[in-house]
């Protein structure tokens, strides 16, 4: 059963110190000297900020690049290094992404063992958003607050955070007190503010409205510079490439994030390619998010984090695509 506590904002850094001293590895959003917020290992609690980071936590459980195994003298040696850690200060759009990754990577016929190891070793301390962010559109999907899938969830209620606890593992009486009905109401209000501030997109039945044969794909394709940012920044993208690297008499098999906006992604030997131009590649990306995954899993493969919009050098905007196919202008 979920329990509800609260913690004073003054005590947050002390609580983080406590967790660090307990020996936990902690990853979370930290402020850099240059002013940006990045999701990184937290060495000093002072660095922590309650803000959405540029990158998010995906790479902690699904690294940009990892060794699947080593091959030496005819033997295959599996890579198994991992640590127990807390992801502290994640956002709902990010952890909702984990849930979607779980469906693909863990719940099919085959499990992705490496992901499972990292995922099951990660304790989630989520921070629900109480303010709309510039590019986000989470209220079109799950909204700013998680219903489950966390250990603790923090919600800003002014001087304190309301803390929802799915389990007691990280609850320490020294820092947490009981929450009142009023605190709970305040939290609800703050969450509702996001719904008021944020535009909700006409997502309903988009899978039936979107079309292959439309000028929009060529138009966006003419702009796309194949940087891969929409994939690399996405909390729900999971496509990867696999390749070997030879070091002396050892061979490493590596898996690395891939991007469906790259020509080589679908290219077969002999330079045959079923997906030759940018328009086709954009269709694949948007259809995967808005159509194919819905058909296969019953929900859209998007959590409305807005990173693909923010990081696209030529401002290709999934919100515009959704609105366009729902009868809007581009």
């Amino acid at each position: 059963m979920m329990k509800v506590y609260k913690i004073s904002k003054d005590k947050l850094k002390a609580y983080l110190s406590y967790l660090l001293n307990k020996g936990y590895s902690i990853y979370g959003p930290v402020k850099t000297t240059s002013g940006d917020v990045i999701f990184s290992k937290i060495e000093d609690p002072e660095h922590f900020v309650d803000e959405k980071s540029t990158n998010g936590p995906k790479s902690v459980v699904f690294p940009e690049r990892e060794i699947i195994f080593r091959y030496r003298e005819g033997k295959i040696i599996e890579e198994k290094s991992d640590e127990r850690r807390i992801l502290f200060g994640t956002r709902t759009c990010e952890i909702e992404g984990f849930r979607m990754l779980d469906d693909v990577l863990l719940k099919g016929k085959y499990k992705d063992i490496s992901y499972e190891r990292k995922r099951s070793n990660s304790i989630i301390v989520n921070f629900a958003c109480t303010k709309a962010c510039k590019y986000g559109f989470c209220t079109t999907f799950q909204g700013p607050k998680l219903k489950n899938g966390f250990s603790l969830q923090f919600i800003d209620i002014g001087d304190d955070y309301l803390v929802e606890a799915m389990n007691e593992e990280l609850i320490v009486p020294e820092y947490f007190t009981e929450a009142s009905e009023e605190d709970i109401k305040k939290a609800e209000e703050n969450i509702n503010n996001v719904y008021k501030e944020m535009e909700q997109l006409p997502i309903k039945d988009i899978e039936k409205k979107i079309k292959f044969n439309d000028e929009i794909w060529n138009k966006l394709g003419n702009y796309c510079i194949n940087c891969g940012a929409c994939n690399y920044s996405c909390p729900t993208c999971f496509c990867f490439d696999v390749y070997d690297v030879k070091i002396g008499n050892e061979i490493l098999r590596i898996r690395e994030w891939d991007s469906c906006l790259l020509e080589g992604f679908s290219r077969l030997a002999g330079f045959n390619n079923p997906r030759k131009d940018n328009a086709s590649r954009l269709i694949q990306r948007f259809y995967h998010k808005l159509v194919y995954h819905k058909l296969n899993y019953g929900y859209y493969l998007c959590t409305g984090c807005g990173r693909c919009i923010e990081q696209c050098p030529v401002n290709i905007d999934i919100r515009d695509v959704i609105k366009y196919f729902s009868g809007g202008e581009l």
Binding site: I68, F69, Y71, G74, K75, I76, E78, V104, L105, G108, K109, Y110, K111, D112, I113, S114, E116, F212, F238, C239, F240, D241, V242, Y243, D244, K246, I251, R253, R255, D258, C260, F265, S266, R267, L268, A269, G270, N272, N273, P274, R275, K276, S280, I283, Q284, Y287, H288, V291, Y292, H293, L295, N296
Partner: protein
């Protein structure tokens, strides 16, 4: 009971037992079948040449001890495999994919249509048919190669299979030794005996496109046609995304598709 999962991305190391040349650019490799599993006709394996990489390969024939695969040299991976010799080690995992639903074809007439290096999956079907010959009706195999020297599995096509089924061959470019039919594989379609057959087509996408077109012209229903597709594959287990065809993962939901199911996919029959 809790199911114990193993890391599916780890191959088993297996020995190459025998290598024989099929054509100037195609070789057959006989590998140890370490797992003893007998794959279903039309399934595939991921094969590793360590240090170069991993790629999908269909099997042509299998028993408890051996797996037979046939590979055309087209890229880096296949090129590296060609460099290996007997007793060398490769990595293998699988079998993956759905394979042909061959049990469902019981009692039916079957037409196998193959082009070029698309023949191994059809050979795996032929192995099944030859072991269960009386469970099927009239069986035809139509096979087209670029030239006589590009015909794969000559012994099977010319000697073994004609004993049990009707085999028809054609080449695009004949040489002086060739006395048979000349033309692309669809030029053999007038010799199809039963249009109520199940049609299994494996070959280059362009050949499959025209085969489907010709069959439909003759009144064959889309649901009578099965295709085995080839796409870039990196995991083989329905995750990495390279083989996506619309909502399908060719590695997991295919590689065999009943044509009516994928007929509207825009990336089908590319090229």
């Amino acid at each position: 009971m809790m199911q114990v999962y193993t890391n599916e991305m780890l191959p088993k190391t297996v020995r190459i037992l025998k290598i024989c040349d099929e054509t100037p650019d195609t070789k057959t490799f006989i590998l140890e079948n370490i797992t003893k599993r007998i794959p279903k006709p039309g399934q595939f394996y991921m094969i590793s040449v360590f240090g170069v990489g991993e790629f999908p390969v269909s099997f042509g024939s299998a028993n408890e001890n051996n797996l037979l695969i046939t590979v055309k040299k087209v890229g880096q991976g296949t090129g590296a495999l060609f460099e290996l010799g007997e007793n060398d080690i490769v990595g293998l995992r699988g079998p993956y994919g759905n394979g042909f639903p061959i049990e469902e074809f019981t009692g039916k007439n079957i037409v196998l249509i193959g082009g070029g290096i698309g023949i191994p999956p059809l050979r795996s079907v032929m192995e099944y048919i030859s072991q269960h010959r009386n469970e099927f009706g009239y069986v035809q195999l139509l096979y087209g190669a670029r030239s006589p020297k590009d015909i794969v599995y000559k012994d099977k096509l010319l000697k073994d299979w004609p004993k049990i089924i009707d085999v028809k061959l054609t080449v695009d470019v004949p040489d002086e030794t060739w006395k048979g039919h000349v033309g692309v594989v669809t030029t053999l379609f007038d010799q199809i005996k039963n249009l109520d057959s199940i049609f299994l087509i494996v070959g280059p996408e362009i050949m499959m496109r025209y085969s489907v077109l010709e069959l439909k012209k003759r009144g064959v229903k889309e649901s009578q046609i099965y295709l085995s597709l080839e796409r870039k594959m990196k995991c083989g287990i329905g995750i990495c995304g390279h083989c996506n065809l619309g909502r399908f993962y060719v590695c997991k939901d295919g590689p065999v598709f009943r044509y009516d199911i994928i007929a509207n996919e825009r990336e089908l029959f590319y090229g």
